[in-house]
Subunit: 145 residues, 2 copies
């Protein structure tokens, strides 16, 4: 089980968003090589701009585990998290954050700069399947124009 | 209708959290001098560390209005928002953020520094009823020891 495998699963979630005319971002939460929660962007469907893939996947993971912390979990996200999602990941104490494409416009790093927004023990891995993740976003915005 | 009046309403929400043994933070969303949404911290009850007063009040406000943006709304929060909530407030495009007590430990300013995390048009007012808001937090943590 590789990072690429689980990112492919996150991309599958992102494609569901794409099909529903939502900005195509997806996420999965993995514990011991098993996916315990999935989420994709639902901001339009729910008319709620906080209904990001990560928020949905995190809340689903807390429910699944009946626990407030994800210290043994890895979250795979197709896009760099925004400030809100970075903050949510901080509170989750997630073990590892793996994301695909960078988000120059709304990624957390634009606001936090060199400051680390996650829990001190959280590990960050960037750029897994970044071309595929970025391509899906590009396709979406081309379609929208 | 003053900022103090609405902050008193947010404090009322915070006291509900206190009574349920939750970190006592409350929030209300106001449009045209009417409270359209309320929320208080439910992280323990929901076993979800993202269930902050602001997140609950914001989601309730989106549902109430059937709209993704709160450009005519003011949110009153008893405590300085954390990074996640600051990010959620950004997405909401809320007109005005009013908070009471500062949060030296987890307030957004600790991570963002001088960077503005909200929408460029959002107005920020700090320190409304800050003593009352801070006192409730102090009481809670004294009780917890």
């Amino acid at each position: 089980m590789t990072h690429e495998y689980f990112m492919t699963q996150a991309l599958r979630e992102a494609r569901k968003a794409f099909e529903e005319d939502e900005v195509p971002v997806g996420a999965v939460v993995v514990v011991q090589e098993k996916i315990i929660a999935r989420g994709y962007n639902m901001t339009e469907r729910l008319k709620d701009p906080t209904a990001h893939a990560e928020m949905i996947a995190l809340t689903s993971a807390f429910h699944h585990l009946g626990a407030k912390y994800l210290t043994e979990a890895t979250i795979y996200i197709t896009l760099e998290p925004c400030l809100m999602c970075a903050g949510a990941l901080f509170w989750s104490k997630v073990k590892r954050v793996v994301y695909g494409a960078e988000d120059e416009k709304n990624g957390f790093r634009k606001t936090t700069g060199p400051q680390w927004p996650f829990h001190p023990k959280t590990e960050l891995i960037r750029g897994v399947l970044k071309e595929e993740c970025a391509l899906l976003m590009k396709e979406f915005f081309l379609k929208k124009r």
